[in-house]
């Protein structure tokens, strides 16, 4: 027992390995939010006029809203006037034309994080868009993708080069009136990725965005928009880290996915923002709106997320299944340790006929972590023969942690079927004993059991990510068994 708790301690005390700060000159807006700041951001990014108008509309709407309080997360009120809404590494001269022009310090940062942008070019496999604080610092493989007509760039670049596409699609899935944080994001978003897959194209490689918060007191507001035209398919990865600081920083992103007839989008996230220290001081508030719209017939959107970081995670990647026979999937592993809180889950809205959705959520709470699954499965009147299967399991490690489940089921059609199951358990002493007896240390046994528990979700991740996620979970769990 004492040995086991020692291991737990060492796990709990394990340090965040991405907590360094990169020393680059920053070009920032003054803290605070008003219409001038929004105009400043828009001007800085040389955006077309429609964008400024849209941002201002969003801002005016946002001012009428109040911070929502329904989630099972607790945090002191956020002072939105003390946040810096724009912060970018200072550009030398004209700004980077290719990766060779990017500040070597930034490339170094990404190398430290295990995302060597340059090497990636040679290794061929994943195209990366790297976002540093408010701006994208480089996107790899653009040329190769362009040959097939795929547009993959930062959203600022897209606003310059393809304003008609952005205008057509932005806000169609998550309108700026959607919720408090989505409105705020619409008003002040600074960058993010844009991805357009033309008709009938299967994207030949994984696309990925790597988000990094660096500057202090800034909020990160990025906006990702992925459009998959008829018959196309794409797999997209997202990763994130932030330096170790005592203050909480806000990250309020919006991700919109749009799948037309027969299109498929797979969106995977490994979220590892700084979670705060042992006393729960510092860490990122990760308040994100993610939604996918299966607009076309036979379309499919699949979300996979591994949430190990952030002081507070508050997000519900959702699918709106409008097209007949469309499919929505959600696979999630959410780990809370120390004083982390997570209120996460999904919404599956069935509108079209024969739509199907699957929800698999695995929550793990250790230390003082509080982990909630909150999900909605809704069948509209015309969703004939729609099906849903939901399973949310919770694993509790240590008696100070909490695991909660808040599913909502709304049925309005007699031909649909929904099945929801949830279980809560802990790692059994007998399971550990079984492993110990066979010469496996308690820590390894816990890792094995937890990895087995999460297997269903990890299987959904692209290979490189699956390996990373397994390691991350191992690290995050070290020493948590008693």
């Amino acid at each position: 027992m004492s040995k086991a708790s020692e291991t737990i301690d060492s796990f709990v005390n394990r340090e965040y390995s991405y907590g360094f700060v990169t020393d680059v000159e920053q070009d920032s807006a003054p803290p605070g939010l008003n219409e001038d700041i929004i105009r400043f951001i828009s001007k800085k990014k040389e955006e077309p006029d429609f964008m400024v108008d849209w941002r201002l509309r969003a801002y005016r709407y946002w001012r009428t809203l109040e911070v929502p309080t329904w989630a099972k997360v607790y945090f002191p009120p956020i002072d939105f006037q003390s946040i810096v809404y724009y912060s970018a590494p200072k550009q030398r001269g004209e700004g980077p034309q290719s990766l060779d022009d990017v500040d070597p310090k930034l490339l170094e940062t990404y190398e430290k994080l295990g995302i060597p942008l340059k090497e990636q070019e040679r290794l061929a496999g994943v195209a990366v868009d790297a976002v540093f604080d408010s701006v994208s610092v480089g996107t790899t493989f653009q040329d190769k993708l362009a040959e097939q007509g795929i547009i993959f760039c930062s959203i600022s670049e897209a606003l310059q080069n393809h304003p008609e596409l952005v205008e057509k699609y932005i806000g169609t899935v998550v309108p700026y009136t959607d919720n408090f944080f989505a409105s705020l994001n619409s008003a002040v978003f600074t960058d993010g990725s844009f991805c357009y897959i033309p008709k009938g194209v299967k994207c030949p490689m994984e696309l990925s965005t790597y988000f990094r918060i660096n500057a202090a007191n800034t909020g990160q507001f990025e906006r990702t928009l992925i459009v998959a035209e008829e018959g196309s398919s794409v797999s997209y990865l997202e990763g994130c880290t932030a330096p170790q600081r005592d203050e909480n920083q806000l990250h309020a992103a919006v991700v919109e996915l749009l799948a037309l007839d027969d299109a498929q989008i797979k969106y995977s996230t490994v979220q590892n923002w700084y979670p705060g220290d042992e006393e729960g001081k510092g860490g990122i508030y990760n308040f994100v709106t993610k939604r996918g719209l299966c607009k076309g017939r036979n379309s499919k959107i699949s979300w996979t997320q591994v949430e190990t970081g952030s002081a507070i995670t508050w997000k519900y990647p959702s699918c709106v299944l409008v097209g007949d026979n469309s499919v929505g999937e959600f696979y999630s592993v959410a780990l809370t340790n120390k004083y982390q809180q997570a209120d996460t889950g999904t919404k599956m809205t069935h509108i079209g006929k024969n739509t199907r959705s699957t929800v698999v959520s695995k929550g793990i709470s250790a230390g003082h972590g509080q982990n909630s699954y909150r999900g909605l499965v809704k069948f509209n009147k015309n969703a004939d023969n729609a099906r849903n299967f939901s399973q949310c399991d919770s694993l509790l490690i240590g008696d100070q942690s909490g695991a909660h489940t808040f599913p909502y089921i709304e049925g309005r059609n007699p031909t649909t079927s929904v099945e929801h199951e949830a279980t809560t358990s802990k790692i059994g002493e007998d399971q550990i004993f079984y492993c110990n007896q066979r010469g496996i240390s308690t820590q390894d046994a816990v890792n094995m059991i937890v990895n087995g528990y999460c297997k269903e979700v990890f299987q959904q991740l692209p290979m490189e990510f699956a390996v990373e996620a397994q390691k991350l979970l191992g690290v995050s769990l070290e020493g948590s068994v008693g």
């Binding site: 008696d399 929904v418 949830a422």
Partner: protein, 454 residues
């Protein structure tokens, strides 16, 4: 923003507050003096809360506007209308071999009651009487579980209640025959509101079988707002069945608060069939080790009915076991709501909690909302919940059709079996048999089930 809401709350609760002031002046009706501060706390709690709206998380799916729009006419004196003993036969459980208390418009009707040879020390009678006697049991337990209660209807009941049942079983008493509490609303006026208030105390090692049923004489919009508090001491066993069969225009709001001691057993079977809008709130506190709590409910709705089931099971001590089974069948434009919350407090290790909610929609216009929730703060527990919503299994229907039954018959059989799952769990034989028949008849009234063509 908040100012406006406060104003709205005040406006809305005004008639209720002024009615209370009038009651205050009447003195006598407020009951004995020690009860008055409790009433007062109730009305101020109500003034604070106001009626819930659908913006309130716990009332998201149940819009009680039709109730708040009614005139508020609390019944504060016994009805002049008399019901003959023969007339009782039209109500459910009339033929049941039981001790019977009959309440007309919330007041005990002694002529209709039937209490024979109770075990020594046991009390079965009117709560108002007991409040006057100021016995220790009543003083200890009355309104003991409603502190901090969020439900405005409970607060309203505390302010305006007149009478209800009081049941007391001394240590080691076994009640062989069930006790039947029959609540009849005359429904003589639109907006008439009764506030039955029951207190049930089962001392250690006692055993109680209880049937509670609600019905009405006239089909007009009236409100029954009932509150029951039960105190189940160590090793006591209570089986409690509640049948809500109010007329189709009536409203029914009922709350049950139960507190269980070590190794006690509590089985509660709420069956909702009637009323336009009904809500059954259950809050059980499992405050002892090795106890068992079973909540086993059924709701059958058609027309424009709404049946809401709201419960919180609070595991406050280790080694507790709780099971919730709720089945619902909805037809036409009716609406079923299930909200179950299992709370496992820190240190309530080895808790075993299971929750199941199953729903069948017979019509394309029926709606179901389910919120089965778990809130767990202890690590060594077994908690599961499951919810399903949809139609009867195609395989099961095919199986029956392959054996020569036509589709409507197969569907009827399976729907009856679905409701039967709940009825079967009732252990009181005579009660189960009667309910089985009632549930059968009720299902047969469902327009979709009655259809004989495919």
């Amino acid at each position: 923003m908040s100012e406006i809401t406060q104003e709205q709350v005040t406006q809305q609760s005004d008639p209720y507050l002024s009615r209370f002031e009038a009651l205050e002046k009447e003195g006598e009706r407020g009951g004995p003096s020690w009860v008055f501060p409790i009433r007062k706390a109730g009305i101020s709690r109500f003034a604070e809360l106001g009626f819930p709206t659908i913006k309130h998380e716990d009332w998201r799916f149940t819009n009680i506007r039709p109730i708040t729009e009614l005139p508020f006419l609390p019944v504060l004196e016994p009805s002049r209308e008399t019901i003959s003993e023969a007339a009782l036969n039209r109500f459910a459980f009339a033929g049941l071999e039981a001790h019977r208390l009959v309440f007309v418009d919330g007041f005990l009707a002694p002529d209709l009651c039937q209490i024979e040879s109770l075990p020594e020390g046991a009390i079965v009678g009117s709560l108002a009487e007991q409040l006057k006697k100021e016995s220790k049991e009543v003083k200890d337990h009355f309104a003991g579980q409603i502190n901090g209660e969020e439900n405005a209807f409970t607060a309203l009941n505390t302010a305006f209640f007149q009478d209800g049942a009081f049941i007391y079983l001394p240590k080691g008493t076994v009640m062989e025959k069930p006790i039947h509490l029959l609540f009849i609303s005359t429904g003589s006026e639109r907006g008439m509101t009764t506030h039955p208030r029951n207190l049930i105390i089962a001392e250690p090692h006692s055993e109680l079988k209880l049937v509670e049923s609600y019905a009405g004489l006239n089909d007009i919009p009236y409100l029954t707002n009932a509150v029951t508090e039960s105190v189940i001491a160590d090793e006591a066993h209570v089986e409690h069945c509640k049948l809500q069969n109010e007329p189709g225009e009536a409203f029914h709001m009922a709350s049950l608060y139960s507190h269980q001691g070590r190794s006690s057993r509590f089985h509660f079977h709420p069956i909702a069939m009637g009323a336009h809008i009904s809500r059954n709130t259950i809050r059980t506190t499992l405050d002892g080790e090795g106890l068992e709590c079973v909540l086993n409910g059924l709701y059958l709705t058609y027309g424009k009915q709404l049946a809401d089931n709201y419960m919180t099971v609070d595991h406050a001590k280790p080694h507790g076991e709780s099971h919730e089974y709720f089945n619902g069948v909805m037809d036409e434009k009716s609406h079923g709501v299930f909200h179950g919350r299992i709370l496992v407090r820190p240190h309530s290790q080895k808790t075993d909690a299971k929750q199941t909610n199953k729903n069948i929609l017979l019509s394309g216009n029926a709606v179901v909302n389910a919120k089965p929730q778990l809130e767990i703060y202890a690590d060594d527990v077994k908690c599961t919940h499951g919810a399903t919503c949809g139609q009867l299994s195609d395989d099961a229907i095919f199986y029956l059709r392959a054996r020569g039954l036509n589709y409507p018959t197969a569907r009827r059989m399976l729907t009856h079996a679905f409701a039967g799952e709940i009825v079967e769990r009732i252990r009181m034989d005579t009660v189960r048999e009667e309910l089985d028949r009632l549930v059968w008849d009720r299902l047969e009234q469902m327009p979709r089930l009655a259809q004989t063509a495919e």
